[in-house]
Amino acid sequence: MKIRVLGNLAILAATVALSYGMQVTKPHYADLTAPLPVDGAMGKRVHARSFDVRLEKVVFARQLKTNQFGQEKLLTTSGLWAVATTSLTATDASTTVADGTWQGPTDLRYNQTERLGYRQDMPPHGVDPGLGKLGLFVFEVPPDQIRGAKLLIAARRFGPLDAQARISLDGVRTGPDGQPADILPQYDLDAPPRDQGPQDQGPQGPAQETRP
């Protein structure tokens, strides 16, 4: 009788401990349904579920020049502007690729800038199967978040269990202080990319084959 009571108590205690353990280690719902990362490198085609993406190059600049409604604007930042050029294509059906995130080496995440307003080469990028398209993702990042960073690209901002391309920026040359080796004083988004500064940041050099 006594053994039985003790046994029941032990089972109860074990159940409570197990339940508590499960409760405290339960992953957050957002983590359970988080996007599924697909890893890749610069200049390599990364195959996400609904689209393919290749990061062609990343240009860093202290100022960004752009045209807004016919007015020239010069955007400054206390960090650095990072302009990522990607070539995108849809896998099965016409779709849009809208979300880009800069993930720093310490897993700090930076959303794309919203200061540029509407531009044709900015997200959301409409992509079609079999047709390549160059699309930009522009970020403002602190200089110490560049070495070892990753670019995350997904079809939507909150796409539960959808694929997310995670491209490591290993092709970016950085100096001993961790800052990019080439920082342009100014980058003009409306000028043809060939006319400006260093273009050989990608491991494949100026990978422009999709541009006529």
Partner: protein, 191 residues
Amino acid sequence: MTAVSTDAEPSADPQAEKKWRRRGLLALAVLLPLTLAETSFDSVREWLRGEDLIARDIAFGQSVPFGGGSWKLADLRGGKAGRLPEGAFAVIATFTVTIRDPDLQKQWLGCKLMLIDAAGHRWLPDIIAGVGLPDGVMNCASAIFSGAKPGDTITVGDTFIIPQDAVKTIRPAVGLGSERPWYLRFQRPPK
């Protein structure tokens, strides 16, 4: 004392209890899938209504009732026009629709014109700089608000950009909210 009194009576009980336990287990085998089906029913229905999954193949020249109207492929033409990326082709697909139910805002909700190639790739309409729709042709969205009456025949169409290697096998298709998961896939016009 008490143990004896309970012991004496249920000499037949273990049998009954076993039986009920078995019934309970069997019921579980039925009830669990039923519960799963019931809880996911709405999601499944919602998903099916949002996807163009099952094609109805339509011969060229044939007119079929779909979403409160009668649909027929009018024309499919392509070419190099306007400002297109390298290796791309512009395509215009047009359909003639005879309206029967004028509540297009309900019937044509989520109207989608598509091109589908032999491999199953799907292209949605694109805006092509320098290429407009022919006179009298409207796209799906404008057709919904065109105020068409029963008996009216309207021409619905759109422009697409597709890669050159898909041109040979593309077939125009139509999906409407009121008909999903079914959609119409038309045979190409003969050359």
